[in-house]
Amino acid sequence: MEDNLIKDDILTRDFEEIIEQFSLKIKKSLVNTPYQEREDLEQEIKIKIYEKMDIINNITAPGFFEFINEEKKEK
């Protein structure tokens, strides 16, 4: 899955790109659903992802040096 995410410089993600990159993952998740309901589930998952696009785009990440200089967090 990580190999698909090649676009390095994009900081805000496009909803359509995300759906495309996760399309296989979504298809796999339909396996336990009865056939009549699969399209509905697929749609609902896409809606859910759309609702969470804000969260996705606001994910923060540390820079390299910030990361390696971090104190080890207690888990």
């Binding site: 998740s29 589930l41 609902e44 996705i56 990440a61 820079g63 990361f67 390696i68």
Partner: protein, 195 residues
């Protein structure tokens, strides 16, 4: 030159062995960014390394977040469906006397297969459901038994075991015929493309 790099790895040994850093450095570009920031620790080099790492880290976070979201959402959805189906079992279309109704309820709820048969109220056939024209023509190549198996499996959601009980055949026969039927539907499409 390499001494600097070795020292660097030594000093930050613990963090450098974190999976996310290792994965980040597996890519050539990222690794060379790291080397150049160690050899020539200019602000520009460091920034490039930082940006690359941030992007990598974000991607990992997004993949983890969305994977879990999809996984748990699908599970919840499936639970809702199954609960909904259990609560809304039968449609009684015609008036029946009180005793007849009890009898009907007893008969159908004791048998999960007739419950599944009831769900498909319209009793659709395979040809009604499929819209792809090529597949429809290929359906004529299937035996009656295979068509019935497809209907039971995909319209009524029978498991292979249930189909075998319902049609009074062995499970092996059912899975064999199912596989054959699906292959027939698939194969013809390929042959047409080759021609």
């Amino acid at each position: 030159m390499t001494q600097n790099i070795n020292d660097f790895f030594k000093i930050y040994d613990q963090k450098m062995n974190e999976p996310i850093v290792k994965q980040f450095l597996q890519e050539k570009n990222n690794y060379s960014l790291l080397i150049s920031s160690i050899d020539k620790p200019t602000k520009e080099n460091k920034n490039r390394l930082d940006t690359a790492f941030k992007n990598h880290y974000k991607k990992v976070k997004i993949v983890n977040y969305l994977s879990k979201l999809i996984y748990f959402f699908a599970i919840d959805f499936d639970k809702k469906i199954s609960n909904h189906r259990k609560k809304n079992v039968l449609n009684m279309d015609s008036d029946t006397s009180f005793t007849d109704r009890n009898k009907l309820i007893k008969e159908s709820t004791s048998n999960i297969m007739s419950y599944k048969l009831e769900i498909n109220e319209k009793n659709s056939k395979i040809v009604d459901i499929i819209s792809d024209e090529e597949i429809i023509t290929n359906i004529k190549n299937l035996s009656d038994k295979q068509i019935r198996i497809l209907e039971l499996k995909y319209i009524n959601n029978f498991s292979n075991k249930e189909i075998s009980k319902f049609l009074n055949e062995s499970e092996q026969t059912i899975s064999y015929n199912l596989r054959k039927a699906l292959n027939k539907l698939r194969d013809s499409k390929l042959h047409k493309r080759d021609v």
